[in-house]
């Protein structure tokens, strides 16, 4: 029964890893940008939700937090436009190292800004105990914390709406066209700049949702940014870097491994659970670098 509980916990936690991986994969698929700043976007999201829900616009703590998420996401859209316009656009067409280093710079700016604004003290969301009660939620014999219900619902909503957008609408079609061949897409009248901007917007919103859940689990500190990066990279890699569906599957697998293998190993080597995602990352890189659903790059001279 303990094992069953671990599996359910792992899958529940995995949904939010999947959302972070989705944020990462989307930027990579459409813009061919390796977004190292994903952890810092998650961190910024946690702090923004903390700030906006701290305003206390609504009495009910649950609605208050959801309103905080919505306001933070709207703020995130503005930051996404700024990111694309001022940091990424000057570099299109340049080497991959430049693009990576620019996301590193973005990450440093975001992380630095949160530290300057909110300091390094551990924070919790307003109404944390009402929204995420310490008593676990029970389904039959299984007990899971309330945070994971949020995680599952949020992941389901954002992933479902994203997949609908990506697969069924004209906008998603344009996005896939740009990801396939930006120049050909441009000749067919698709504005690449707009597509890139919208992509960053979706990535920010996904990261902010992950910020809500990670912030609720660990408390809001700088650590969230490392946790985010540490979960997003392996999850994205397991699924293959350019497959949104694979990202979710990768997240679920990573959560499963972390909560089963990690918990078992932790009994023998205390503290090893913290580096389980990195070990998974190394193993996946060595065994299957292009992931389960990734495009295998064929290199020619």
């Amino acid at each position: 029964m303990v094992l069953l509980e671990m599996i359910v916990m792992g899958l529940a936690a995995g949904t939010i890893y999947g959302v972070m991986a989705l944020s990462f994969v989307l930027i990579y698929r459409v813009g061919k940008i390796v977004n190292i700043a994903v952890g810092d976007m998650v961190l910024l999201g946690a702090y923004l939700i903390f700030a906006f829900s701290g305003l206390g616009l609504v009495e009910d703590p649950v609605i208050n937090l959801i309103l905080g998420l919505i306001l933070a996401s709207i703020f995130g859209l503005v930051i996404a436009v700024g990111t694309e316009r001022f940091l990424m656009r000057p570099l299109y067409g340049q080497s991959i190292l430049s693009l990576i280093m620019m996301t590193v710079a973005l990450g440093m700016i975001l992380r630095g800004a949160t530290i300057v604004k909110w300091g390094t003290v551990l924070r919790v969301f307003p109404g944390q105990h009402e929204v995420f009660p310490p008593i676990p939620f029970t389904i039959g014999p299984i007990e899971i914390p309330y945070v994971y219900l949020w995680s599952i619902t949020g992941a389901f909503l954002i992933f479902g709406s994203f997949l609908y957008l990506f697969r069924k609408t004209l906008f998603g079609f344009a996005m896939r066209a740009v990801s396939l061949d930006p120049e050909a897409a441009a000749t067919h009248g698709i504005s690449i700049k707009k597509i890139y901007t919208y992509t960053w917007m979706i990535a920010y919103v996904a990261a902010f949702l992950a910020g809500l859940v990670l912030g609720a689990i660990n408390g809001i500190t700088v650590i969230v940014s490392y946790l985010g990066l540490a979960r997003a990279l392996p999850a994205a890699l397991i699924g293959g870097l350019d497959s949104p569906g694979g990202a979710m599957l990768g997240g679920l697998l990573l959560g499963l491994i972390e909560h089963t293998v990690g918990t078992f190993l932790n009994a023998y080597i205390p503290g090893i659970r913290a580096i389980i995602p990195y070990i998974v990352l190394l193993v996946v890189l060595i065994v299957k670098p292009y992931g389960l659903f990734g495009t295998v790059r064929i290199e020619r001279v």
């Binding site: 990576i100 990352l281 001279v301």
Partner: protein
């Protein structure tokens, strides 16, 4: 080197073409720099000496990292490699003298670097960034694991000394200067050997380099070994300078500073001057931020605890500005000045 000469500058012999210092002026400049550095302890307060030692330490790490990045082997585990060098030194320094511990620390870091670098044969470009991220955290965790029984995880290093004679600030300064000079000399010449050419080829396209006869396994392993050795030596110097080391001294963030500010802002491919400029940038920004926060705190009390955050913002802005305005880094500014004076006063 001869490749970037403007039209009108003529070299008449092979020796002149390959010579390291192209003009008498360069000898003068180097001589002046050495003179200033040697005389500095007698003129400047100790604060500046410490800053210069830190510049030397980071400079050495960045030299190795620069060589690795030139081959497009991106590594963000160099802070952890410095940590390995520092801890090796700290554990050995009680028994062994510094001229043994420093190379041993370098070799130790080189071994770890090769171990985590070997997957680079199979994985390319930014995938390597992921694997070295993993390496950084795993090494950090191992360092914490080793020191788990020591209170505060702090390991003390015996002070620098030779046969019972304790080194003072002055001796330490000259020793570090000498080590930096040797390391800089070596890395400058590595760029001119077949190894250095192979690095550039691997950086352009590694499978194309393989077709041209570059043994990828050998050269990638050597690149990681050299880079690791440099980081280990730098970590060892750091350990002697501070007198104690903890795993928290070598965070993930520092790896990014080394790669982002050190290599990219300093100048990729400019092994000596680019690395030194990048290192100067890291130290100067750190010091300026600390000063700024101290000055501003009375007026803006909320700034107090956030020097760390302000520094990250500055680093981010500097990296972004350099990438947009001068993608070749600060070293290319230096090169432009040089180019201007090549044809001075009658340029076309």
């Amino acid at each position: 080197m001869g490749s970037s000469r403007p039209c009108g500058v003529i070299k008449e012999s092979y020796a002149a073409d390959m010579s390291f210092f192209e003009k008498p002026f360069h000898y003068w400049a180097i001589g002046l720099l050495i003179l200033i550095l040697v005389l500095l302890p007698f003129m400047a307060p100790e604060f500046y000496l410490n800053a210069i030692l830190l510049i030397a330490i980071f400079g050495i790490t960045i030299m190795g990292l620069n060589l690795l990045t030139q081959a497009h082997l991106f590594s963000v585990m160099h802070a952890a490699l410095m940590g390995i060098g520092a801890f090796t030194t700290a554990f050995l320094s009680q028994q062994l003298p510094f001229f043994l511990t420093i190379p041993v620390a370098g070799l130790m870091a080189a071994a770890v670097s090769v171990f985590f670098g070997l997957p680079s044969l199979r994985i390319k470009v930014f995938y390597l960034l992921f694997s070295t991220t993993a390496a950084q955290f795993i090494i950090e965790w191992i360092l914490n694991w080793i020191t788990r029984d020591i209170p505060g995880s702090a390991v003390y290093t015996a002070p620098l000394g030779l046969m019972g004679y304790q080194f003072g600030v002055l001796e330490q300064y000259y020793l570090y200067l000498l080590i930096t000079a040797i390391m800089a000399y070596l890395i400058a010449h590595i760029g001119r050997t077949p190894l250095g050419k192979a690095m550039v080829m691997i950086g352009e396209k590694d499978y194309a380099a393989q077709i041209q006869g570059v043994d990828l396994l050998k050269f990638k392993a050597i690149a990681f070994a050299i880079s690791g050795f440099y980081a280990g030596v730098a970590g060892s110097m750091w350990s002697y300078m501070l007198g104690l080391v903890t795993p928290e001294h070598f965070p993930f963030l520092m790896s990014w500073e080394l790669l982002g500010v050190g290599v990219i802002v300093g100048g990729l491919g400019s092994y000596v001057w680019g690395s030194i400029l990048g290192s100067v940038m890291i130290i100067v920004v750190t010091q300026v931020t600390t000063e700024l926060v101290t000055v501003l705190t009375p007026y803006m009390p909320w700034l107090g605890a956030s020097a760390f955050g302000l520094r990250a913002i500055f680093y981010g802005i500097i990296i972004a500005a350099i990438l947009i305005l001068e993608p070749q880094g600060l070293a290319s500014l230096l090169r432009k000045v040089k180019r201007y004076f090549d044809l001075w006063p009658f340029s076309y």
